[in-house]
Amino acid sequence: GESVGLHLPTLSVQEGDNSIINCAYSNSASDYFIWYKQESGKGPQFIIDIRSNMDKRQGQRVTVLLNKTVKHLSLQIAATQPGDSAVYFCAENWGDQSGGSNYKLTFGKGTLLTVNP
């Protein structure tokens, strides 16, 4: 079926440690993946994205890895800070890269990241 799910619902880390949040997807046609961060009472905030023609992408303190063979996505946060505490969602979409598609997003359930000082 079409689904995106997360391996761990909660993750607790110490400040300064690296965090790894995992996500599995089942739609082999998905060609675009996004990680969002959602703080309490706020909307999803874009963190980083990756297209299916890549297996790694780095941003500021974050790295996304894509393994299409096993349909697995991960978000790595370096030197995790208390401000990183939030729920993290992976989302996938598929469609025409020319921009003619709706690009609706299918979200996973989310992982709650708690950073302990």
Binding site: Y36, G43, P44, Y103
Partner: protein, 114 residues
């Protein structure tokens, strides 16, 4: 930095009443979306809108729901006769038409149906 805005932040209504949730997408964006999130659950797609018409809708988006872009800036979601199960956070999102397909989300409207 441009952002999607939504009003109101919290709407309380009685079952059976009509509600209109408002969104102002980012000004140069062309695709607009509504999603909802029931408390503690994942974000679910409701509808996408492009070129003044619905381009896709989910099973959730039944005849009680409608969307409109009444002018060049606002994008609204109307629920004609609210049900208890409509209680949720409703998020508006928008994106450009280019290859950068990132959808940017608003802060959401919390709808409480009593």
């Amino acid at each position: 930095e441009p952002e999607v805005t939504q009003t109101p932040s919290h709407q309380v209504t009685q079952m059976g009443q009509e509600v209109i949730l408002r969104c102002v997408p980012i000004s140069n964006h062309l695709y607009f979306y509504w999603y909802r999130q029931i408390l503690g659950q994942k974000v679910e797609f409701l509808v996408s809108f492009y070129n003044n018409e619905i381009s896709e809708k989910s099973e959730i988006f039944d005849d009680q729901f409608s969307v409109e872009r009444p002018d060049g800036s606002n994008f609204t979601l109307k629920i004609r006769s609210t049900k208890l199960e409509d209680s949720a956070m409703y998020f508006c999102a928008s994106r450009t038409s280019g290859k950068t397909d990132t959808q940017y989300f608003g802060p959401g409207t919390r709808l409480t149906v009593l």
